[in-house]
């Protein structure tokens, strides 16, 4: 019997797909099922065609699947765009008027008058609840779990709304049950210790755990979510949250806040980040820390504002004029989102450098389960000294790091400068002081590479072929490798991409063949490795159509690598 299933909700913007998704995945959690839910939306507020894919199955499910088992159509443009993803056993479910006949007849199609049923239950807005009921019924899940979700969601609403919703759920459930799918979804025991998050929330939580108490940003998809997440936590956690007038203001506010002792962050996408580069350079020169989150989307320019890509790696690595140390991180899972976002603040404060977190729309908007983080003994070093009268902001020390003062804390003065400066922070044009200060700053690189976030390595330690990836492609590659015999093959996922961990050298030296998988057109991480190590990458697997890699695509890549190895 099938052990997993892929369900796609397809409809217009504004039809409430997100509501169904939320109720449904929380029901799945209650059922101790593992799932992965990912959305792709158009850059518009109403109309068009958006889809949300919910995959249910064994715990390694963590990627986008091309092939759809059940397509639930919510609106009139819901079928054409995804038609090519249906297979011979796919089911289509929806109202008759929304499914073109030609398609309906080519697949196993069930017409369900969701809206009429909703009307029967008392209100057309109950359509989404009817669909929820239908899906729960179809999968043989418990109706009461859906009920619980509705009660939780509408607990603030009047009694009548709850009753109507429960009624709608029931009606949908009954019909769904009639169309039940024979399937054996494996339960996990661990779900109670897991929580549902998307990348946005995970980064937001990590930031708070890292002591973030200042957020300034200008809205830009898909980076806006982190800003809004922190806005909702501002009062509880005492976070200054401000919508800046533009991205330049945002990054300069971040620097102003760190200077005054805050732990500040901004969030944006590639285009907004391009505007922040002068500020990143300022962070490098002044040694005032900064944390910048880039939610990548396909460029150049406005590009595809609501889709996904990993096209801004080199932009981040070479951000800002002049030369200065910088750290670029790229989480690949929810767990990494939390820990890397938390860690980013620590790195920034420790080294006094700009830290950039690279995520992307796919990672930010996809929901999944992750280990519930334990923050009970979270703490962090502030790296702040009480200044004395003799305090010098740019004291030259052995390792390049000067003790960090903040204005108003102690008797000294904190004087930071964007011009080249001496130890007191005063402008200098002396060639020797310049050289000394450049070396002071660049020296930090050494320290940074001694304390990197190591890559995750999966597979055969006697590998001759090495697959490399960074950031959000972790999920799909990890899933594709699961349950594979991987003799001769190893996979290294990097969540610190710059500076490169020292181990990269050893890994690449061992490999006879290196394949880098990236969601971009020019193989940026492969280039970065070539640049840093002076070696040759043998193959790039690239995709740049605005969508994440599918499990099918990566599985075939890995299969062909494995067969290449076994042939030898």
């Amino acid at each position: 019997m099938k052990k997993d299933i892929t369900i796609v909700l397809s409809g217009e913007a504004g039809q409430g797909i997100k509501t169904v998704e939320k109720l449904f995945i929380h029901s799945l959690q209650e059922e101790k099922l593992h799932f992965f839910s990912t959305s792709e939306v158009m850059s518009r507020v109403r109309g068009g065609n958006n889809t949300t894919e919910i995959r249910i199955g064994s715990p390694v499910i963590q990627s986008f699947k091309e092939s759809i088992d059940v397509l639930i159509v919510l609106g009139k443009n819901g079928t054409e765009r995804v038609q090519h993803r249906l297979h011979k056993d796919s089911r289509i479910i929806g109202e008759e008027k929304n499914i073109p006949e030609s398609i309906a007849t080519s697949f196993s199609t069930t017409y369900v008058p969701f809206k009429d049923i909703a009307n029967e239950a008392g209100n057309p807005v109950l359509t989404n609840t009817v669909i929820l009921g239908y899906v729960l019924g179809m999968l043989g899940l418990q109706q009461k779990i859906g009920k619980k979700q509705l009660q939780k969601t509408f607990k603030e609403k009047e009694e009548k709304i709850i009753t109507q919703n429960i009624e709608a759920l029931k009606k949908g459930y009954e019909i769904g049950k009639d169309a039940v799918i024979k399937i054996d979804l494996p339960r996990t025991k661990s779900t109670p210790d897991k929580i549902i998050l998307n990348g946005t929330q995970a980064i937001g939580l990590g930031a708070i755990a890292g002591g973030c108490n200042f957020m300034a940003a200008y809205p830009m998809s898909p980076g806006t979510g982190v800003l809004e997440f922190l806005a909702h936590q501002a009062e509880t956690f005492g976070i200054v949250v401000e919508q800046a007038e533009d991205e330049i203001a945002a990054i300069n506010m971040v620097l102003g806040s760190w200077y005054a002792g805050g732990r500040a962050m901004t969030t944006t996408s590639g285009g907004g980040f391009a505007l922040m580069e002068e500020g990143i350079s300022l962070s490098g020169m002044t040694e005032v820390p900064s944390v910048t989150h880039i939610g990548m989307r396909p460029g150049p320019a406005t590009g595809l504002p609501t889709r996904t890509e990993q096209g801004d790696l080199m932009l981040a690595v070479f951000a800002g004029h002049g030369e200065f140390p910088k750290i670029v991180l790229a989480p690949g899972s929810l767990d990494e989102c939390i820990h890397i976002s938390q860690k980013a603040f620590d790195l920034a404060a420790t080294y006094g450098v700009p830290v950039i977190i690279l995520s992307d729309q796919f990672l930010l908007d996809s929901y999944s389960l992750t280990e519930k983080p334990d923050f009970s003994d979270t703490s962090y070093k502030k790296h702040i000294t009480k200044t004395t009268k003799k305090f010098e902001t740019y004291k030259i020390t052995e390792n390049g790091i000067s003790p960090r003062g903040v204005p108003g804390h102690g008797n000294g003065f904190v004087c930071v400068d964007s011009d080249e400066h001496d130890e007191t922070g005063r402008i200098t044009e002396d060639a020797d002081v310049r050289t000394a200060m450049m070396e002071k700053r660049l020296k930090k690189n050494k320290l940074i590479t001694q304390h990197v976030i190591e890559p995750t390595i999966i597979g055969d330690s006697n590998f001759s072929t090495l697959i490399i990836s960074w950031g959000s492609t972790y999920g799909v590659i990890a899933e594709a490798l699961e349950n594979k015999k991987i003799k001769g093959l190893a996979y290294a996922h990097f969540s610190q991409v710059f500076p490169l961990p020292n181990i990269t050298k050893k890994l690449t030296e061992q490999a006879k063949r290196i394949v880098v998988i990236e969601n971009n057109a020019s193989g940026q991480f492969a280039k970065l490795i070539q640049m840093e190590l002076g070696i040759k990458i043998h193959e790039n697997i690239l995709q740049y159509n605005g969508f994440p890699f599918s499990i099918e695509h990566i599985t075939s890549v890995i299969d062909s690598e494995l067969s290449r190895i076994s042939k030898k």
């Binding site: 939580l205 200042f214 936590q233 501002a234 005054a260 002068e278 923050f375 007191t424 402008i427």
Partner: protein
């Protein structure tokens, strides 16, 4: 109370200004005024951009963040928001504040950030050797505007009034007494306070000289009602002779930026004194 000498640097720094530059007058008066204000010296912070004017903090014994050309205001905003105890003075030239930094100027006013904003409006780009600034007068010939400036000069005071600024003043760099009084008032004012200062650039601006400012400015009289928005607006548009003094001081004190921040609702500590509330964080995780 601190005395002037404490704001003098205890070490030698080579001043990069030209002999006779109007900036010296501002520097001296700023140091003098600060010395007379009852605030711990350690709590005084300058945020400046890049330009001749923006070098001022280099010569004062206080904290400073000497950042990028045009960006002093967002930095100042964040400093104030991160530690409301600090006296934050944003400082720079007319190119810095009204040119490159124009957008921040607009939005900082809207935020009503409780800072003192000093603009050395010499009507020229000094540091880059004499190009027109947004306030340069029509017809001024420069190494770049070789046929004379053709753009309408900016009217920063009128913009400030348009966007709701509550404290607006103008003063000549050499008028120590007036400047001192104005800066003191601006410091006391709880909200955004703009002081547009005229320091002649003796090296490049051959039009707006010491003499020109003497002849083309005047102080509003003692009976001028600076609480009247209409009168202030009128003054902002006077061009014949440029009015100086405190032109507007809104008596209906609006809440300042930091007073709106929920970050300070349950906790008045500066950000650097805080740590994360792990209990609440665990609660958030449990209910997310």
């Amino acid at each position: 109370m601190t005395t002037q000498s404490t704001y003098e640097l205890p070490f030698k720094v080579d001043n990069a200004w030209c002999p006779g530059c109007g900036n010296f007058g501002i520097l001296n008066t700023v140091k003098k005024t600060l010395a007379e204000i009852d605030i711990p010296q350690q709590n005084v912070v300058f945020s400046s951009g890049i330009g001749q004017a923006a070098k001022l903090p280099q010569y004062v014994h206080a904290n400073y963040f000497n950042g990028l050309h045009g960006r002093a205001l967002p930095v100042a905003t964040a400093i104030k928001a991160s530690n409301p105890e600090l006296l934050v003075i944003a400082e720079g030239g007319d190119g810095d504040m009204y040119g490159e930094g124009g957008n921040h100027f607009l939005h900082t006013i809207r935020r009503n950030v409780d800072i003192v904003h000093l603009v050395h409006n010499n009507m020229i780009y000094g540091l880059t050797k004499g190009q027109a600034s947004p306030t340069s007068q029509r017809g001024m010939v420069t190494p770049l505007q070789i046929n004379g400036v053709s753009l309408e000069p900016a009217n920063p005071l009128a913009v400030a009034l348009s966007y709701g600024a509550g404290f607006i003043a103008r003063v000549f760099s050499g008028d120590t007494k007036e400047m001192q009084e104005i800066i003191s008032e601006a410091v006391k004012y709880k909200g955004y306070a703009l002081i547009d200062i005229f320091p002649p650039c003796v090296s490049f601006n051959k039009i707006n000289t010491y003499k020109w400012f003497k002849e083309n400015t005047y102080y509003v009289s003692d009976d001028y009602d600076n609480t009247s928005f209409e009168q202030a607006l009128g003054k902002a548009f006077e061009k014949e002779k440029l009015p100086m003094g405190i032109l507007y001081k809104n008596p209906d004190q609006k809440k300042s930026f930091t007073e709106h921040l929920v970050a300070y609702k349950n906790n008045s500590k500066a950000l650097y004194e805080r740590t994360v509330n792990t209990k609440k964080l665990q609660e958030l995780v449990d209910t997310i």
